[in-house]
């Protein structure tokens, strides 16, 4: 009986939320055009929130609400991700059993490169995220992979993000039909409604950023991954992009996919690409 009510509630809210976004420019065929998509995506947010400074969008909910921003700035004086950052730095320098370290797996020794992830690997024909690259580095050096969702992986990515703080997101889409397909697949995932609540990522992060869903202020989709990984007070712990995707899914009552499923890698590719030019602000502290 209870599920039926929720069901009605879900479909009702979907009907209420339904509306058609006016599309400023009509593209003839459905040719994948990431540059145009990114420009439209950014302009949508710049016009919707004219007095939010462009680089402020990477601060998620705090770019939308002054009272929350003050609480955040107070937290940033001595942020809760401090311990993960130190742990990540220490782990990054600790050699594997075979004497190598993460620095040997990454360009520029892994320092200041987070803004180029995720990238499209033309050999593999798929998007490779920072978490995936870290685990592949571990396996290549005979070490067991870490959980994609938190703890060690969050500490490592926190340190790598920290070394890129302030650098502008710089995601490339090579001239390869498979890369364009991955971008398109990520875009489709972002706009597709799922779960009994019948919400897509866009239902919250495009239609109502700045508004509250229950107690939380919704972050704008533009630059939403620039602060990853994040320490969330709600988790009272660190979480990677994967953890955020998994929990968002279950909050709409959709069964989450595996942490590094293709769909998640592609939607991270899409969201990072459209945020090109906005600064990396990770690791972040969030409600």
């Amino acid at each position: 009986m209870k599920a039926r009510i929720h069901l009605l509630l879900g479909s009702l809210s979907a009907a209420l939320v339904a509306f058609a976004l006016t599309s400023p420019r009509v593209i003839a065929a459905d040719k994948v055009d990431p540059v145009a998509d990114a420009k439209a995506f950014r302009n949508f947010f710049f016009q919707k929130f004219p007095n939010v400074k462009h680089e402020d969008f990477v601060n998620g909910p705090y770019s939308m609400n002054e009272d929350m921003k003050r609480q955040w700035q107070e937290k940033e004086e001595f942020p809760p991700y401090e311990f993960a950052l130190d742990a990540g730095k220490e782990m990054f320098a600790t050699p594997f059993k075979n004497g190598k370290t993460y620095a040997d797996c990454f360009p520029n020794g892994g320092i200041g490169i987070r803004q180029n992830y995720p990238y499209f690997d033309e050999k593999e024909g798929k998007v490779v995220t920072l978490e995936l690259a870290l685990n592949r580095c571990r396996e290549a050096n005979g070490e067991a992979p870490y959980s994609y969702v938190k703890d060690e992986m969050a500490s490592l990515t926190a340190y790598m993000a920290y070394t890129s703080r302030g650098k502008l997101m710089d995601i490339k889409i090579p001239d390869d039909p498979r890369a364009l397909a991955a971008f398109e697949n990520g875009k489709r995932y972002f706009y597709t409604r799922r779960g009994q609540m019948n919400f897509s990522c866009a239902s919250c992060h495009v239609q109502s950023p700045g508004e509250r869903i229950r107690a939380e202020i919704l972050a704008p989709a533009l630059g939403i991954l620039n602060a990853m990984p994040i320490y969330r007070s709600e988790w009272s712990g660190m979480g990677t992009t994967s953890r955020r995707f998994v929990t968002c899914n279950s909050q709409t009552r959709a069964v989450p996919l595996e942490p590094q499923a293709d769909e998640y890698r592609d939607v991270e590719y899409f969201l990072s690409y459209v945020a090109n030019g906005l600064p990396i602000s990770g690791p972040g502290a969030r409600p």
Binding site: A3, R4, H6, L7, L8, S11, L12, A14, A15, A18, A20, L21, S23, P24, R25, V26, I27, D37, A40, F41, F44, K187, R188, Y191, T192, R193, R194, G195, Q196, N198, S200, A202, S203, V206, Q207, S250, R253, A254, V255, L257, E263
Partner: protein
């Protein structure tokens, strides 16, 4: 397009439970149908968490011999799975309506 989704869900849910008490055979049939629909939804990578919990509740009630509740829960799971399948198929095109162009 969007309004027909709730309609489909309501329709699927209005299956009147059978009058006489359900027996094991009814439970087995209802559970098999629910499981099939749930597998199809999972195959489309669009499973709902409530389908999984309704299916689990059906199994638990079925194992406990409470076939009335088991059949009801299985029917609910089947309806939810069908709704998620409907959602996945309709969203194949519907997502474009929301896209920022």
């Amino acid at each position: 397009m969007k309004l027909s989704l709730p309609l489909a869900m309501l329709l699927a849910l209005s299956l009147a439970p059978s009058a006489r008490a359900a027996n094991e055979a009814d439970y087995k049939a209802a559970y098999a149908a629910a499981e099939a629909a749930s597998k199809e939804a999972a195959g489309m990578r669009n499973q709902w968490t409530v389908t999984v919990s309704a299916l689990a509740a059906a199994k638990k009630a079925g194992d406990g011999g409470d076939f009335d509740r088991a059949v009801a829960a299985a029917r609910e799971a089947e309806a939810l799975a069908k709704a998620s399948i409907f959602q996945a198929t309709s969203e194949k095109e519907a997502w474009k309506a929301m896209e920022i162009r």
